[in-house]
Amino acid sequence: MAANPLRVALFVALVPAAFLLPGSSPPRLPGDHSGYAPEQPIHFSHRLHAGELSIDCRYCHFGAWESRHAGIPPASVCMNCHASVSAGFDAQMAERAAAVAESRDPRRVVSPEIAKLYAALGLDETLTQQSAPTPIPWVRVHDLPDFTWFDHRVHVARAIACETCHGPVQSMERIRQVSSLSMGWCVDCHRASAAEPGGNSAQHVSTDCSACHF
């Protein structure tokens, strides 16, 4: 009889423990993929581009202003700069110094990552077409279920900063999902905005199901 309450206590204790078991990560609700930061085919650094060089988001993700999808920039957009910029500043300097030391013309330095970009476009280091271009298979990070429709246009038009959902991208070496992107997460924001005063009917923030599901 004395053993009984102990047994009960043990049982009660085990239930939450069972939840903690899989993986060391703290328990998350289903559908919450925050923290997902997969290896990408090319090590593209948002920290460098959006952070240090502070290139505007819309330069590459121009879709976000006119389309539902922000879109991943076509390789041609990368080449706007990387046709000339083929390696980091330090590497260039080093090569130049080396060239001076060896009293020769500096060679073209191509960083391994940018080389991948050229390869994708079927170019060699001198940017001459070698083979047929093959598109770059970026790994999708911010991925909503197929039955959910998110429209970048509308949110951008309402001047919602990219960081609101995508987090401090300019500080990310490799892009990472910050928000849970769960339905609850969306709805909370919509509820808050719906409560906002003003906003004409075209800008009305809806919590209707059909705002996202159709």
Binding site: G31, S182, M183, G184, W185, C186
Partner: protein
């Protein structure tokens, strides 16, 4: 009476217990024949009831079990196939969205009702004759509700998401459930009903489990010891125990009424002509009691023969149940009449048509099967000669089950088949897979019931003991 004699003649003669002082049996109710035949002593009761559990199972039992398992397997295949392929494997269509699935659901819920009624309502009314049958009736209830609960799950297009009908906190914001849906009321009604019935049944079992424990040895002693919660039959426990039973009974009584009322709201709260009527809740409840008693009767008639319980389930019990059958059957008839009257009196063209369609429409045969089996057939029990033959009673009880199944079929399918817009009128023809699910449910029910007869006391020993005739005060030397 001729009937009893005939029955008692069937009873296997047993050597009278020498220790048992002969006592005029049936003093509990002097006027009538005894509740328990054969002048049993307490220990005889124990022995008789435990006998089927302790002797090796008979061939008949094995045969029955195999048959039941075969049916169950057929059902498992059918449900498996349907879940993997789609509801399209059923005969449903854009107009008739429910067919065998919900028909069987309502049917099984109905079957369940007799158990609770016997154990709860008759307990409250101090009906002593219930003691011999309440245990198995309750078991029947639980198994029936189990079968019933199957159908709402498998009838879903995506049964693997069935858990969405429960209000649990979720990452959807939180998106709760629609408390206005009668289907949701079902979820709560059925689960509550199942839980309460299960508790009631198990609490009732505890003293008998203790008896088994004390008779058994080896692993069975351990098992029953574990199951009997360390029951020792002390006076204090008994008094609390009886109080608890009374409480459960008084809770179960309104519950049993509520459950089928709620089930009926699935139909009553919707706009479909033939469904949308206020008579449905009482109509469903009485129908449930009716079908339930029929099922109890069916099972008891088999059990008393196969398991030699003629002394415990006596002709008196059978007749008591027959009376209930006649009574409830007549009320069901009244309900059918009311339904027709309401439709006619409403002057609502759609209502009127719905019932015209039931009476003379393409599926009128179903309606007339239902009426003849539920209203006319039970009336035969007024006749002494019919009551006299256990075979006749057995057949009648079976017919009532059939009739009640068709009642649900008529309400669901025939109403849906032709509603408002003639362009959408359609028909319904079940497929093999649907029959599979139905047969499977029966398989499950009988499997469970057979295992129950084999491993648990089918008659509540301690309750029977209370209704045994008390001994005379003995002289002491």
């Amino acid at each position: 009476m001729a009937a009893e004699l005939e029955v008692l003649a069937h009873a296997p003669t047993r050597a009278p217990n020498p220790h048992a002082p002969s006592r005029p049996s049936g003093c509990a109710v002097p006027s009538e024949e005894p509740l328990i035949g054969g002048g049993k002593t307490l220990t005889q009761v124990t022995r008789d009831v435990c006998a089927p559990l302790e002797r090796r199972p008979t061939f008949a039992w094995w045969a029955a079990l195999c048959a039941a398992l075969a049916m169950l397997l057929f059902g498992v295949w059918a449900v498996g196939y349907q879940t993997a392929t789609g509801i399209g494997t059923w005969g449903l269509n854009r107009t008739v969205g429910w067919g065998f699935d919900i028909t069987n659901f309502v049917f099984w819920v109905g079957i369940g009702h007799a158990g609770t009624l016997i154990s709860a309502v008759l307990l409250l009314f101090r009906q002593k004759w219930r003691t011999s049958i309440n245990r198995s009736a309750e078991a029947m209830t639980i198994f029936a509700v189990l079968c019933a609960a199957l159908f709402p799950v498998i009838h879903m297009g995506r049964p693997w998401l069935a858990f969405w009908v429960f209000p649990y906190p979720n990452a959807r914001g939180s998106l709760w459930i629609n408390w206005r849906s009668a289907l949701l009321w079902d979820v709560f009604a059925i689960s509550t009903y199942f839980t309460i019935s299960l508790l009631f049944w198990y609490v009732g079992l505890i003293p008998d489990l203790a008896t088994l424990r004390d008779r058994a040895r080896g692993w069975r002693k351990k098992l029953f010891g574990w199951l009997s919660f360390g029951w020792d039959g002390s006076g204090r426990t008994w008094s609390r125990y009886e109080m608890a039973c009374m409480l459960l009974a008084s809770l179960a009584t309104p519950l049993v009424v509520s459950v089928h009322s709620v089930v009926s709201t699935d139909f009553a709260t919707s706009v479909v002509p033939g469904w949308h009527t206020t008579v449905l809740p009482p109509y469903f409840v009485i129908g449930a009691v009716f079908s339930g008693f029929a099922m109890v009767l069916t099972l008891m008639l088999i059990a008393r023969r196969v398991m030699r319980f003629e002394d415990y389930i006596t002709v008196r019990h059978i007749h008591a149940m027959c009376k209930v059958l006649v009574f409830t059957g007549s009320i069901v008839g009244l309900a059918y009449a009311t339904e027709l009257f309401t439709a006619w009196y409403s002057g609502n063209e759609y209502e009127m048509f719905a019932f015209e369609n039931r009476l003379h429409g393409p599926m009128a045969w179903a309606y007339w099967i239902m009426v003849s089996c539920n209203v006319f057939v039970p009336q035969l029990l007024w006749l002494r000669r019919v009551r006299g033959s256990m075979v006749a009673i057995f057949v009648i009880s079976l017919l009532v089950n059939v009739g009640m199944w068709f009642e649900r079929f008529v309400i669901i399918v025939v109403s849906l088949q032709r509603d408002f817009l003639p362009s959408s009128w359609s028909s319904y023809c079940p497929t093999l897979v649907e029959f599979g699910a139905m047969v499977g449910a029966f398989g499950l029910f009988f499997t469970l019931f057979l295992l129950f007869c084999r491993f648990l006391p089918m008659i509540s020993m301690f309750e029977v003991k209370t209704v045994l005739a008390p001994a005379h005060p003995k002289e002491h030397a």
